[in-house]
């Protein structure tokens, strides 16, 4: 090799290495120092958000556009999860040292040490479930609205064809109605594989279990109660009877969430246990029947509390170098009338003082909320009163075991065993 060529090669390698290093350092974190402790005058804010069929990137861009217009120095970039969900993505970003400034999604209590405490101000306390979400006394997330779960959407034509005029109040009545719907030629209770199976059973159980013990998850964390000896066992027995009597699709485990939605909206199935986020999808679908909704029946027929949780909850990462700007944006997202209504409308959620023209189905969900005596936390709880990370996945896996011949007793024993070895 001639000296000149060799020198060029070495120079090229050094230049490439320098470029690569420069590129790495430029991309690290992606933060822009906003000056001092973080003035809102100049900041690049990264938002990690939950993406769904209705909560698209476009939706979030439109949501923050007025804030950016009012704060010319602030630039907001929307980031979709790159892992299975927001929580897993955030974990990876924390490990990689490049977490976002704000995050929106269902997060476990374990992540709270990485989040900035929200100020003890009234606007934070007024957001739905801010108090229930406290971990060790700290408020760390503020939601835009109230997302209702444990409601049953139904095909009004199917109910009419089956001769059902009164909505069921007890689980037994619901089972009897499902049998009549099956006789009328419908798939009585629509379900699916993926996360749907466990979530639906959770929506059946929570109003029953949490009604008398709103802090049930907290007590389970301390080992004071367990699944096997709670009303979970009665709920699972009901669900197993549905499987045995083919009141749920026999091929349910081969269906995805979207398949379940398609089946229900095509008029093939009669009921669909889901949350209020299903309302916009049901409203927008072209269908030959009207969709109604009723509260999840209870085991004894007593009026159950509505279970819910914060919708589109926002938190600020402690690592953000733009704390002030991030807090300004969070306040805008949970207090600005236009922004909050946009968030509520997108998922058909509710919040007192933030009304919007709602569809008849949405109004029906609102009536259920108004009529309920109390509200309890949904899913796997909130804040200190919540299950360990991974509980929903484990519950889902075990509940799906019912379709493969497991008994409710086996399922609950497995869940208790998992819970005990994972309790915080």
């Amino acid at each position: 090799m001639k000296p000149l060529r060799r020198r060029s090669l070495i120079t090229g390698c050094v230049a490439l290495t320098a470029l690569a290093l420069a590129g790495c350092s430029g991309s690290a974190g992606g933060f822009q120092e906003s000056g001092g402790s973080g003035s809102a005058t100049s900041a690049d804010l990264r938002l990690l958000v939950n993406i769904t069929p209705v909560l698209t990137k476009e939706f979030y861009r439109n949501l923050v556009a007025p804030f950016e217009k009012a704060h010319p120095g602030v630039k907001v970039s929307i980031e979709a999860p790159t892992a299975s969900d927001v929580s897993a993505t955030l974990q990876q970003q924390l490990a990689a040292g490049s977490p976002p400034d704000l995050v929106s999604g269902s997060l476990s209590a374990e992540i709270v040490p990485q989040l900035s405490p929200l100020p003890e101000e009234q606007w934070v306390k007024d957001t739905p479930y801010a108090e229930q979400s406290r971990v060790g006394g700290t408020m760390w997330q503020a939601g835009s609205g109230n997302q209702v779960q444990s409601i049953v959407f139904y095909n009004k034509s199917a109910f009419a064809k089956a001769g059902i005029t009164d909505m069921p109040k007890t689980m037994n009545e619901l089972t009897e109605d499902l049998v009549r719907l099956k006789d009328a030629g419908y798939v009585p209770a629509q379900t699916a594989g993926e996360w749907v199976t466990g979530a639906q059973v959770q929506m059946m159980a929570n109003p029953n279990v949490l009604d008398t013990a709103p802090d049930w998850f907290n007590r389970r964390n301390k080992g004071e109660v367990d699944f096997a000896r709670s009303d979970w066992s009665k709920v699972l027995e009901v669900y197993q009877s549905w499987i045995e009597r083919k009141l749920t699709p026999p091929d349910a485990m081969g269906l995805k969430y979207q398949d379940a939605i398609d089946q229900f909206l095509a008029g093939k199935s009669a009921t669909f246990i889901m949350g209020s986020w299903f309302v916009p999808t049901a409203d927008e679908a072209k269908k030959s029947f009207d969709v109604g909704v009723f509260a999840m029946p209870t085991l004894d027929g007593s009026p159950a509390p509505v279970s819910g949780g914060p919708s589109i909850p926002w938190s600020i990462l402690k690592s953000s170098k733009n704390q002030s700007a991030a807090l300004d944006l969070l306040k805008y997202l949970v207090t600005d009338k236009t922004a909050v209504v946009a968030e509520l409308k997108a998922e058909g959620n509710f919040r007192k003082g933030f009304d919007y023209p709602a569809s008849p189905l949405n109004q029906a969900v609102g009536e259920i909320v108004s009529a309920s005596a109390a509200t309890v936390v949904a899913s796997s709880g909130q804040g200190d009163n919540s299950a360990p990370t991974g509980f929903n996945d484990e519950l889902n896996k075990q509940v799906q075991g019912l379709y493969l011949g497991k008994t409710p007793k086996d399922v609950l024993a497995s869940i208790d065993s998992w819970y005990t070895s994972n309790a915080r």
């Binding site: 897993a88 490990a95 089946q263 996945d393 896996k397 075991g401 994972n422």
Partner: protein, 335 residues
């Protein structure tokens, strides 16, 4: 014994003729040149060669160190901690994660699923790859097109493949629709655990075997035509030619294909994620799927790292074992 006494200067039986030694003037010290200041010239040349080699190797060394060795070392360290991926200071737990791994029923089940997918998939990928390579190892108008068609699935991302086949095999999918419209009951491709594992194997083979076809084609094209022609002139049938000429000569390709497919299938994750999500009831979780679930859904990164290290060791051991086992066959080709 004839030939037992070597002639002066001759080569004894069994001796291997080595490279001719460089002629050196009598009395010259090793390493010294023959011209003026030869030592300095050779030293410069060696230094220059060393610098060139170092510079050329540096990028690859840095990349391998940063993106392979460092993560493996980090995973090995994390496997002895209870890190949840969120706290800044992982707590050391010794061998606890590895002890738990031995008692974890989910790990045992995932290992069985992975074993089935790997064994059946490796055999199927290689059988299909070799068969199609033999068929496509000829010139023709459509050969190029067919080779591209066969290779195409390998180009598609595994997540897309998973969703594509999910739309075909799902309970609401294309095949179920066809069967229902023909008056038959749908088949439980994804809803029954046994069928679901079978579906994963089939989809994995479909997505992978294109690369085996290409590798076997490359191997087939290195076989000297004269050998095949000689065998045919000796009256060998096609099967005899394949068994006695083609197959032995393909030994290096077989080794490469076996190792590549085996290692790839031991790490199957994306197709499982998109096709079954590990369900129903976690019964189609592969080892790689379990590692990711444990690490990022349950926040047990330390335990997930222990699982990952175990898989790394298994993959390394299997790859080495296959390579060693295949060495004899490859040496036969060299001979």
């Amino acid at each position: 014994m004839p030939g037992s006494t070597p002639a002066p200067g001759g080569v004894r039986a069994g001796d291997r003729p080595g490279p001719a030694r460089e002629a050196r003037p009598a009395g010259a010290a090793p390493g010294s040149g023959t011209g003026g200041r030869p030592s300095t010239g050779r030293g410069r040349a060696r230094l220059s060669a060393f610098v060139s080699q170092t510079v050329l190797l540096a990028p690859a060394t840095v990349l391998i160190s940063v993106f392979m060795l460092l993560p493996i070392a980090l995973a090995a360290y994390l496997s002895f901690t209870d890190w949840n991926g969120l706290t800044p200071d992982p707590r050391r737990v010794g061998w606890a994660n590895y002890a738990r791994l031995l008692q974890d029923a989910d790990v045992g089940h995932a290992a069985v699923v992975t074993l089935v997918v790997t064994l059946v998939g490796t055999v199927a990928c290689n059988a299909a790859g070799l068969a199609l390579a033999v068929l496509l190892n000829r010139s023709g108008r459509l050969t190029g097109l067919l080779r591209a068609v066969v290779f195409y699935p390998y180009v598609i991302g595994p997540i897309i493949i998973g969703f594509l086949w999910s739309a075909i095999l799902g309970a609401n999918g294309a095949i179920a629709g066809l069967l229902t419209s023909a008056g038959h009951s749908p088949l439980p491709f994804l809803s029954d655990p046994t069928w679901a594992v079978g579906s994963i194997v089939a989809v994995v083979v479909w997505s992978q075997f294109g690369v085996n076809v290409v590798l076997y084609l490359a191997g087939l094209q290195t076989i000297p035509v004269s050998l095949v022609e000689a065998a045919r002139m000796d009256g060998a049938t096609r099967w005899q030619v394949f068994r006695s000429v083609t197959w032995p000569m393909l030994a290096p390709s077989v080794t490469v294909n076996l190792v590549l497919v085996l290692v790839g299938l031991l790490r199957v994750y994306e197709i499982v994620l998109a096709l079954t999500g590990g369900g129903p009831a976690g019964r189609t979780s592969t080892f790689a799927f379990l590692i990711l679930s444990e690490s990022f859904r349950t926040n047990h990164l330390g335990y997930g790292a222990a699982q990952a290290m175990t898989l790394t060791v298994v993959i390394g051991a299997l790859a080495l074992a296959i390579t060693a086992l295949r060495r004899r066959a490859e040496q036969a080709v060299s001979a």
